[in-house]
């Protein structure tokens, strides 16, 4: 019950801070862009757009959200409330995944994607992965500049191989690389089952790390400064 309420509040905060409005505009822009592309480009362009924006938005927005909560000392209060770290992390991950999946669905329908279920699975897995990475980084940094710098290596290892893989420019064994698995799913292509299992394991590991990082952040921030 508390988790459901928390999730709804998180979505409400995101709406208040303009996330939904922003992605409403971006979705329209992306649709216009995709519809203006030649038919042969459309499929890959849609996959890249979905993977790099709605699916990956958690990486960027989680920094802003957690930094905001830290700056307004809300996390200090969470530390001394019945809210559990697991509820906090799950709510953050799911609330951003909802926006990502909504945008991905609209783009997929507009571009007649190959497989909507696979696309949604790929978007969800990417979104969870990127949001957890965003949570981990955000708990460690104190400014937006630090956050932007810290995300650069992640962007390189998560985006470059996936885009190259989409254009079949990577070795076959890299099909199991989690970023490539997500790209295959979003593009509606055959995907590696071992790769999917590895992606799940990676998400589980990221979840444990995010859980520990948030717990430590609460512990350091919380309590009463006397």
């Amino acid at each position: 019950m508390r988790f459901k309420t928390l999730l709804l509040w998180d979505m409400k905060f995101q709406a208040r801070y303009g996330f939904y409005l922003l992605y409403g505009f971006l979705t329209v822009f992306y649709i216009v862009l995709l519809l203006s592309l030649p038919l042969s480009w459309k499929e890959n362009a849609a996959a890249i757009l979905i993977y790099s924006d709605p699916a990956a938005m958690g990486l960027f927005f989680m920094g802003a959200i957690i930094l905001l909560e830290k700056s307004q000392r809300v996390t200090s209060f969470f530390a001394v409330s019945p809210l559990r770290v697991i509820e906090y992390v799950c709510s953050k991950v799911l609330s951003l995944s909802v926006i990502g999946m909504l945008v991905a669905t609209v783009l997929a329908v507009a571009t007649n994607c190959r497989s909507l279920p696979l696309l949604l699975l790929g978007t969800f897995l990417s979104s969870v992965m990127f949001t957890l990475l965003g949570v981990i980084i955000a708990t460690k940094i104190t400014s937006l500049n630090q956050f932007i710098l810290a995300t650069v290596p992640i962007e390189i290892i998560a985006f470059v191989p996936a885009v190259l893989h989409l254009f079949k420019m990577t070795p076959a064994f890299l099909r199991i690389y989690p970023a490539n698995v997500c790209m295959d799913l979003i593009a509606g292509r055959d995907f590696s089952l071992i790769g999917l299992i590895l992606t799940m394991i990676l998400i589980a590991v990221l979840f444990v790390v995010a859980y520990k990082c948030v717990g430590k952040m609460w512990q350091n921030q919380g309590g009463v400064k006397l």
Partner: protein
């Protein structure tokens, strides 16, 4: 309500909290006084279950702090010195959100807002609030779930005299409702006025613990200072308990020559400095 027994805690090899023992009864207002770095924050974190690696025992509401579950916080309210609100949400939205974190939702948000005089500003965003308004809102946020135990940190800090009085009256009203209150303040007037007992903490140790009145009375006798005119204004003092032995004062009274006479007691701050050798800065 709180029982701390031989509590020792350390961040490094050297103990930070040293063999501390005290208890706080239900319905009591207990004050922690001490300079920065004295160990108050660490002690509070231990009591809030945030630092489990301690030796000895710290039991709050019947639960050993290091073994608490998330339900532990259902009966604890914390009022931070700083605002812990979402600035872009209204006061009412903030209270609704934070109350949703608790299973117990015993107090009406409207009544709480009315209690601190914010009912007409409930729809304003917190970013538009003054420091005093934020302090009052923070206070009622700690009361949303009607906790048995309240941790208050500098509750009157930044408030004007009227709001400070209002806040102190609300704290006393919560005590009358049966709440146990742990208060930390640098304001000795507040501590004297509000606390049933205070503990002086320096260097991770409790130097003294008693009611403010007993501490003041046990350490420093009240004195009487009087002035009279004799080739310019003259001043003299004597202890209140020896006033009948002051021949000069008696003579001045008989001759109606006193210009002023005042009794004065040492303040809690004087006692703190006398006992600990430190100031509260």
């Amino acid at each position: 309500m709180i029982k701390v027994d031989h509590l020792t805690f350390s961040y490094s090899k050297n103990p930070f909290i040293q063999d501390m023992s005290f208890s706080v009864s239900e319905g009591e207002i207990f004050g922690f006084l001490g300079p920065s770095g004295a160990g108050k924050s660490t002690l509070q974190k231990i009591l809030l279950g945030m630092l489990p690696n301690y030796q000895g025992s710290a039991v709050v509401n019947g639960t050993e702090c290091k073994k608490h579950s998330s339900d532990f916080y259902e009966s604890i309210g914390v009022d931070f010195e700083f605002s812990t609100m979402y600035e872009k949400l209204t006061a009412r939205e903030n209270l609704r959100f934070f109350s949703s974190l608790y299973h117990r939702q015993a107090r009406s948000i409207d009544e709480l807002l009315q209690m601190v005089g914010l009912q007409n500003d409930a729809q304003k965003r917190v970013s538009e609030y003054s420091k005093g308004m934020k302090s009052r809102l923070n206070f009622v946020k700690a009361l949303l779930h009607d906790p048995k135990l309240l941790f208050l940190d500098e509750p009157t800090s930044g408030l004007d005299p009227t709001n400070s009085r209002l806040m102190k009256d609300m704290i006393l009203a919560e005590k009358n409702r049966g709440k146990t209150i742990l208060l930390t303040t640098h304001n000795m007037q507040d501590a004297t006025e509000l606390c049933d007992r205070v503990a002086f903490i320096v260097g991770g140790q409790i130097f003294a613990m008693d009611s403010p009145h007993n501490l003041i009375m046990s350490r420093g006798a009240a004195s009487v200072t009087y002035t009279w005119y004799d080739n310019g204004e003259q001043t003299a003092s004597c202890l209140l308990e020896q006033i009948s032995e002051d021949q000069q004062l008696q003579r001045l009274i008989r001759e109606n020559r006193l210009q002023s006479i005042h009794s004065s007691e040492p303040t809690l701050n004087d006692i703190f400095m006398e006992i600990t050798g430190r100031t509260l800065v």
